[in-house]
Symmetry: D2
Subunit: 179 residues, 4 copies
């Protein structure tokens, strides 16, 4: 395999190896307990939210991405999943506070053990550890957090599919047929 | 009022004056009869779809914009509203055919009395007439169709609110409270 | 014309009649003086930013919508146009402060004569007056500000096209030919 | 590591191991030879295009995602990168034909060795082989193609950064500072 592919995959493997194995169970429990799930993040973390929410919708959940046209108001009984590497994204701090105010739960996916968002959130799922994100040439800015979080969430989808026995055919039926 | 504002408003007024008054009733009936409403368009017509779908959601309808993360599959019993000035937008022709195949209804909002999409659609709502869209300097490409269709759809929202007596407070409660 | 179309158009006309006529000139001067133009707004105001930025691009300006993939950093010499009815949109306050910090100019399009954003901005273009936005049944939440601002900006595009003599053919050549 | 994370990572590793190592060089050469780069895909492949284009912009390229507000017309001398697992995505076939018509180059990233898009494209970069994509429970629909293509493109970004010695600081300066 080309050295750059190996670099990326080795780093994700390293990070997900030190990320607690029970996270899939914990996040699934929170998602299952919620009436509606909202997922938010900025920039490339925002793209990660869309990968995940599309699959939640395919799996039959009522899930929304922040900022899309049909995203409704969050209410008591709902879950807000925030993706923020630094835990300091300004608009997400505002959103997390609002979610708490209305009585929704907040879970943070982050690279840091402590941050403003970590203090607000009901649960913090740290992807990797505080030592996982030393600078690596070729993997600029939040690259490793974004990719590791994406792969974690794809694993989470696999976990849900297996646990609930959701047939692929059922997911395909829900998938958009208009482009 | 500045001459350019007057130019735009006069042109919209002219177009909506020759657009049949019963359209609000006809489109409301179709939207009410549908289980889910899908709205699609390309470019600036795509922006018009988002203005409209957000208000449909606020008004309590199950409505979706083509291409967003949580947009599900269209099925029998649903309605597909296509916005296409020319009636010849390639991807929308494909979508309209698929919508018909699954047994959904298709309504076209367009500038032309005849087109490929007009032949596929169950109903055609022509905004203005074939004579409405002569070139006007300062209002390039589809400007007048897009703006006239937007104002028509905002009027349609007003029509729905009055007819069903939807309180603004109710709409505000559904409005996204996370940014 | 149907009463709801008339309601919407009369209200826009009323608002744009009391909006100073020199705004088109003032905003054009600011846009022309900038190296790059950034336009931001939330919700339906965010849709208005896209209508406008697409035409600026067609007209040959280097313009960007906040939140899109290729939007670069704002720098000294650039212009940030904020659309906020209330002038109190949280994320836009943060953005306006950042824009000022790097030495960019900020212009606010708003419904209110005074607000947090109005204090930060170098120039404030109030669309209508403080008396323009009494509640009207059928035109919920920010409807009248959004539509009036959109029509004002379309008039501004017409103004630019006339002033600089930009041929429609030239704009069409820049328009996306991939969907 | 949890079994689902391992499942996803093993499958990506397997696919990228049988993907020719020279692809990074070939695609870099095409990107470097182009005046402007356009990247297109539908659904989750569309999200992959955004991950990639944001980094191309950070690295100093003139790159665009299909469907965003400021995406201009493609012209002779430009490159169109299409991401399509099946190679049969309707709108992308139309786009690839248009790109060829104006004299742009087309490169396809795909899961299949032969397809309609493969026939149109100047170059085909198959991610994995025709045997790579047997159904795996938990990894529905195009999951493995999308993730493998994303990791390949992140590796490609790393390749460009190393080859051209682009400092992270330089990329960070170009990164959007307004949210």
């Amino acid at each position: 395999m080309s050295p750059h592919r190996k670099l990326v995959l080795d780093k994700i493997t390293e990070i997900l190896s030190v990320t607690p194995d029970e996270y899939e169970d914990r996040l699934t429990a929170m998602v299952d307990a919620a009436e509606q799930v909202f997922v938010g993040g900025m920039g490339r973390s925002g793209l990660v939210t869309k990968f995940f929410v599309m699959r939640l919708m395919h799996a039959g959940y009522k899930a929304f991405v922040l900022g899309e046209t049909v995203t409704p108001a969050i209410r008591k009984g709902d879950l807000f999943i925030v993706i923020s590497g630094s835990g300091e994204t300004g608009s997400m701090i505002t959103n997390a506070k609002k979610a708490k105010e209305v009585g929704a739960k907040v879970v943070l996916l982050t690279a840091k053990s402590s941050s403003t968002l970590a203090e607000i959130a009901d649960e913090v799922l740290q992807i990797g550890t505080d030592d996982s994100y030393a600078k690596v040439k070729g993997l600029p800015m939040g690259t490793m957090f974004e990719l590791s979080t994406l792969i974690f969430l794809e694993a989470m989808v696999s976990h849900i599919i297996h646990e609930k026995g959701i047939p692929e055919e059922k997911m395909r039926e829900r998938h958009a047929n208009l482009e």
